[in-house]
Amino acid sequence: MSLLRKVRSGVVLLAVLLSSSLMANPEYSIYNLRPGVTETSQEVFDLHMLVVYIMTVVTILVFGAMLYSIIRFRKSKHPVPAKFHHSTKLEIIWTVIPAIILIYLAVPAGKLLLKVEDTSYSDMTIKVTGSQWKWHYDYMDNDVSFYSSLSTPREQFEDYSRTGTEKGENYLLEVDNEVVLPIGKKVRILLTADDVIHSWWMPDFAVKMDAIPGLINETWTKIDKPGVYRGVCAELCGKDHGYMPIVVRAVSQDDFDKWVGQKHAEKAEADRLAAEAAAKSWSMEDLMADGEKVYMEKCAVCHQANGEGLATFPALKGSKVTTVDSPDDHARQVIFGKNAMPPFGDMLTDAEIAAVVTYTRNQWGNNTGQLVQPGRIKELKAGK
C-alpha cells in the first residue's frame, strides 16, 4: 500500500508542477502555446488546453490501470492468473467511449477551422513573398513594399572558435524592417515564394501558412493588442532556414497611417538618391567600396565572404562569370537571376548593382580591371 500511496502523491505532484508550469505567465510561456493577441489565437489556445486536459485524463486512466496491474497482479501477489481472454461488452465500451470523446473534440475543432479559414470582408491586404532567406512585404492598398531580413549580426551566431558570443535578447528574432500593421483591422495576408517553399509563422496570431513558389495562399489576422510580435519561417527552405525571422509591430490606425506616410517619404528620398547616383560616373575606388558593402549584405550569405562558395553555391573567385564573361553578361545574371540564383534587379539600385559587379570582378585576385557604371545597368535592366 505504501508504494501505491507514493505513486499517488507522485502523480499529484507531477500534475501540480505541470499545470503550474503551463499556466505560469501564459503571455510568454517557454513551456506552452501562448494565448496570443488575436481572437483566433485565444480560441486555438483554449482548444489546445481542452485537448491537453482531456488527453491527460485519458492517459492517467490508462496508466493507472497499467500501474494497478503491475502492482496488484505481480506474480508474488497474484500467483494464479485468470483465464479470460475476451469480453464483447468491454470491447464495445472501449470502442464507443473514445469515439464519443473524439466527436466532442472534433465539433469545436471543425467550427474553429471554418473561422480561421474565412478570409472574407478584410479591411486591407498585404502580400508576403518568401525567398532564400528573407521576406518581402507588399502593402497592396498603401503602395508600400520592402524586404525584411535578419538583423542579428553574423558575429553573434558564428561561433566556430567556440569561445561563446554575446547575444542580444531577441537573438535570431529581430529584423531590419519590421512589418507594421494596424490593430483592430482584419488583414488579409497573401503568400507566395520566389524559390522554395517557406512558411510564415506568427505564433501570437496563430497564423502559419506556407508560401509556395508559383501558388498564392491566403490567410488573415486581426490583432487586438498593440505590441511587437516575433515569428519565424517554419518550413525547411535551405541553408539559412533558421535565420529568416518575422517581426510584426502592431500599432493604432493613426500611427499606421503616419508610418505609411513616412515610408512614402523614405521611398521618394531613396529614388532621388538612386537617380543621382546612377547619373554620375563612378571611380574604381568608390565602386569597390560600395560593392564590398552590397556584397557582404546580399551575396556573401551564399557565395561566402571569401568568394569561394559553399556546397551548391558556386565560387566567384576565378569563376567564368566574374572573369571570362563580359561585364554585361555578368550584370544581366545579377539583374535577372539564373537557375537557383534569384533576380536582384528589383532589390538593388542601379548603382548598387554596378558596384557589386565591379567588386566581384576585381576582388580575390579576379583582376579584370573592368568597371561598370550605373548608367549601363539602367540600360541592361531595360533590355538594351
Partner: protein
C-alpha cells in the same frame, strides 16, 4: 539435409536460409542504427547551445536529412524484415521463406543502397540537405548533385522492401502448417502480413515520386515546378500517400511483438485476439486515407482539411482498442518483469504518449500551430524510438535465447532498460515544451529561451546513444554463451510453435516436416 550448413564468407554471401538472412538483416540494421545515431549526436551537439559551433547550416541540414533517411530505411525497416525472416517460418511451422533466393537478393541490395546514400557525404555539394521528406522544389531545382545518388539509393531500398514484402505474403499464404487457419496465426505474423501489403502498395508510389524528381532535375519535365505547369504541393500529396502508411509500416510489427510478450509474462492469453487483428487491419486501411494531415498549412480547401482531420481522429479508435486490450491482458494476470516485458510495457506507455500528441496534431486548427515545430519532433520520436525501436529491442531479448540457445544477462538487460527509459524521456520530452513555445524544426540555432530544453535533449541523446552500446555488449555476450543454456520453452508457458515445437537454439533447418496445429 538436417545439419547441412556451409561455412565461411560464402555461407553469408550465398545463403538462402531464413535464419542467416534474418541475422544479416538484424546486424545491418544495428550498424545503420549506430550510424543514424551518430548523425543524431552530431545534431544534438550543435543544438547544445545557441550559436553555430560545429557545423555550417548546410552540413547541419545534411545531418538531419541523413539521420532521418538512415533511421527510417536503414534501421527500423530492415530490423523488422530481419525479425520477420527469423520468426515467420518458425511461427507458422514452415521450413523456410517461400522465395529463398529472392530473400538473399533483397538483403544484399541494402549494403549497396546505403553505400550509395552515405557516399554522398563525399560528393561536391555534400549529402542531401532537404530533409528526409525531400519536398520539391528544394530537392529538385535546389538539390545538391548528390540528390541523384539519393534517388537511386531510394530505388534500391524500395526494390528490396517490395521483394521482402512479397516473400512474407507468399510464405504466409502458402506455407502455414496444416490446421493453422488465418485466425489462428500468431499476432506477429498477422501484423507483418498487413505491413507487407502496405509496403507493396506504397513503395511503388515512393519510387514514382523520386523518378518524377529525377526527370524534373535532368529531363526537362515540370511535375513539381509551377513555372512549367506543375505543382509543388502535388509532390507532398504523393510523398505522404507513401509517407503515412510508411509510419504504420514502422509500428505494426512492434504491435505484433508486444502482443506476444505481454501475454507470456502475464501468464494469460492475449485479450481480444480477433479485435486485435481487426484493429490492425483498420489502422492499415485508414493509413491510406489520411495522408494530407501532414499538410494542413499548404492551403488546402477547407472541406479537405475537415475531412482529413476527422479521418485522422478516427485512427485513435482502433489504436485505443489495441492499448486497452494489452492492459486487459495484464489485468488479473500473474506478472513478472524480465527485460522483454519491461521494454514491452515501456513500449505501450510511451507509445500511448505519442498517440496522445497524435490526437492533438490531428486537430487542424491547433495543428496549424504545432506543425513544423519541435512538438512534432517530440511526437514522432515518441512513436518511433519507444515504439518501433523499443519494440525491436524487446523482440531481441524475447527471442534471442531461442535463436542462439543461451540466456542473456538479465541484470545487464535491466540496466539497459532503465538507462534507456530515463534517457529516452530526457531526450524527447522537453521537445514538447520547446515546440509549443515556438521553436521550429530543422534549425541549427535558436533563441536563448529554448536553451534549457535543448541542453536536456542533448545530454539525454548522448546517454541514450551510449546506452545502446551496452545492448551490443549484452547481445554479443549472449551469443557467446551468455549466462547459461536456454530451455526449449525459454519463458515459462511461452506460446507459439517456435517455443513449443523447437529446441533452443532452433536448428539451422527447422520444420522440415510440418507440425500439426490443433
Amino acid at each position: 539435409m538436417g545439419s547441412h550448413k556451409p561455412t565461411g564468407i560464402s555461407r553469408w554471401l550465398f545463403t538462402t536460409n531464413h535464419k542467416d538472412i534474418g541475422t544479416m538483416y538484424l546486424w545491418f540494421s544495428f550498424i545503420m542504427f549506430l550510424t543514424g545515431g551518430a548523425f543524431a549526436l552530431g545534431i544534438r551537439l550543435e543544438l547544445f547551445q545557441p550559436g553555430l559551433q560545429f557545423w555550417d547550416p548546410n552540413t547541419f541540414n545534411s545531418l538531419t536529412t541523413m539521420h532521418g533517411l538512415i533511421m527510417v530505411f536503414g534501421a527500423v525497416m530492415p530490423a523488422f524484415v530481419g525479425l520477420a525472416n527469423w520468426l515467420i517460418p518458425m511461427q507458422i511451422g514452415a521450413p523456410d521463406m517461400a522465395l529463398p533466393r529472392m530473400n538473399n537478393w533483397s538483403f544484399w541490395i541494402l549494403p549497396f543502397a546505403f553505400g550509395l546514400l552515405l557516399s554522398s557525404f563525399f560528393l561536391p555539394g555534400g549529402a542531401p540537405n532537404f530533409g528526409w521528406t525531400f519536398y520539391a522544389p528544394l530537392s529538385t531545382k535546389f538539390g545538391p548533385p548528390s540528390t541523384d545518388f539519393f534517388i537511386f539509393g531510394v530505388h534500391l531500398m524500395g526494390i528490396s522492401s517490395i521483394m521482402g514484402a512479397i516473400n512474407v505474403i507468399v510464405t504466409v499464404f502458402n506455407m502455414r502448417a496444416p490446421g493453422m487457419t488465418l485466425m489462428k496465426m500468431p499476432m506477429f505474423v498477422w501484423t507483418w502480413v498487413i505491413t507487407a501489403f502496405l509496403l507493396i502498395m506504397v513503395m511503388p508510389v515512393l519510387a514514382g515520386a523520386v523518378t518524377m524528381m529525377l526527370t524534373d532535375r535532368h529531363f526537362g519535365t515540370s511535375f513539381f515546378d509551377a513555372a512549367g505547369g506543375g505543382d509543388p504541393v502535388m509532390f507532398q500529396h504523393i510523398f505522404w500517400f507513401f509517407g503515412h502508411p510508411e509510419v504504420y509500416i514502422m509500428i505494426l510489427p512492434a504491435f505484433g511483438i508486444a502482443s506476444h510478450i505481454i501475454p507470456t509474462f502475464s501468464r494469460k492469453p492475449l485479450f481480444g485476439y480477433s479485435s486485435m487483428v481487426y484493429a490492425t487491419a483498420s489502422i492499415a486501411f485508414l493509413s491510406f486515407i489520411v495522408w494530407a494531415h501532414h499538410m494542413f498549412t499548404v492551403g488546402m480547401p477547407v472541406v479537405g482539411e475537415l475531412y482529413f482531420m476527422i479521418a485522422t481522429m478516427i485512427i485513435a479508435v482502433p489504436t485505443g482498442v489495441k492499448i486497452f486490450n494489452w492492459v486487459a491482458t495484464m489485468w488479473q494476470g500473474s506478472l513478472t518483469f524480465e527485460t522483454p516485458m519491461l521494454f514491452a510495457l515501456a513500449f505501450v506507455i510511451l507509445f500511448t504518449l505519442g498517440g496522445v500528441s497524435g490526437v492533438m496534431l490531428a486537430m487542424t486548427p491547433v495543428d496549424k500551430q504545432y506543425h513544423d515545430t519541435y512538438f512534432v519532433v517530440a511526437h514522432f520520436h515518441y512513436v518511433l524510438f519507444p515504439g518501433a525501436i523499443f519494440g525491436t529491442i524487446a523482440a531481441v531479448y524475447y527471442w534471442l535465447p531461442k535463436w542462439v540457445g543461451n540466456m542473456y544477462n538479465e541484470t545487464l538487460g535491466k540496466v539497459h532498460f532503465w538507462l534507456s527509459i530515463i534517457f529516452v524521456n530526457l531526450t524527447f520530452f522537453p521537445m514538447h515544451f520547446s515546440g509549443l513555445a515556438g521553436m521550429q524544426r530543422r534549425v541549427p540555432d535558436y533563441n536563448m529561451m529554448f536553451e534549457d530544453f535543448n541542453r536536456m535533449s542533448s545530454i539525454g541523446a548522448l546517454g541514450l546513444g551510449l546506452t545502446q552500446l551496452l545492448f551490443f555488449y549484452i547481445v554479443v555476450q549472449c551469443v557467446r554463451g551468455g549466462t547459461g543454456k536456454a530451455t526449449g520453452e525459454v519463458w515459462e508457458g511461452a506460446e507459439g510453435l517456435e517455443f513449443t515445437h523447437l529446441p533452443s537454439p532452433a536448428p539451422y533447418h527447422s520444420f522440415d516436416e510440418a507440425p500439426e496445429v490443433k
